[in-house]
């Protein structure tokens, strides 16, 4: 279970880091880049902890997929990005895919025992 929380932490750092990327490119190259590097570094540290038990392809698909869903939600909610039929449909299909991937995956069983001991 803890592996999934590591993955969630990795995703949250990624979302903030990616959102800062466009800002980095346009407004404050040096400070923006440093901020982005720190956040992505933190994100990958937590991803490293997650992929000890979660298959690496699954962890990355969820990291990327949930990241895009959250970034789009942020853009629509706060940055005034418009949402049309295709975009809403795309988000719904992505969320369905994410739930299927998650429900079809178990963390490595031998690691479960370690989690109890740890």
């Amino acid at each position: 279970m803890r592996s999934w929380f590591y993955l969630l932490a990795a995703i949250l750092f990624e979302v903030v880091g990616t959102t800062s990327m466009k800002f980095a490119a346009e407004h404050a190259p040096v400070l923006g880049l440093l901020l982005m590097y720190s956040l992505i570094g933190l994100s990958y540290y937590f991803l490293a902890l997650a992929v000890k038990r979660v298959p690496v392809g699954v962890a990355y698909a969820l990291w990327e997929g949930i990241g895009i869903v959250l970034i789009t939600a942020i853009s629509v909610t706060w940055l005034g990005e418009s949402i049309g039929l295709y975009k809403a449909l795309g988000l719904a299909v992505m969320i369905a895919g994410i739930l299927l991937i998650k429900s079809g995956t178990r963390a490595a069983p031998e690691a479960r025992g370690q989690e109890v001991l740890a």
Partner: protein
């Protein structure tokens, strides 16, 4: 989308190669217990984002990010299978397909 040249897509291609390399090294780092692959993985992903930053100077961010993510996911799943024997369950493949279709739909909007 003015001023898009092949060089922006070259940066995007480089970003994809670097992210996949970072993911493989991440698995080898064993949760950062092995420092060398762990640090190498961090350097690769930071380099990947640097390349991506160059790509979005010419390519729209959401489009570049979707291409980067889509190819990165497919390559990472393939390498996880080939190198670590991590096969997806049937439901996982279906979910992966839906995820990629959804990412494509998001770009049509």
């Amino acid at each position: 989308m003015n001023g898009v040249t092949w060089i922006h897509f070259a940066w995007l291609g480089l970003a994809i190669v670097l992210e996949v390399l970072a993911n493989v090294l991440l698995k080898y780092s064993d949760g950062f217990r092995r420092r060398l692959p762990g640090v190498a993985s961090l350097l690769c992903i930071l380099a990947a984002f640097t390349a991506l930053t160059q790509a979005v100077r010419g390519i729209d961010l959401s489009l570049a990010y979707a291409i980067w993510g889509g190819f990165g996911i497919l390559a990472t799943v393939a390498l996880g299978w080939a190198l670590f024997g991590q096969r997806l369950a049937g439901r996982g493949w279906l979910g992966l397909g839906l995820l990629l279709v959804g990412m494509g739909l998001l770009k049509l909007a």
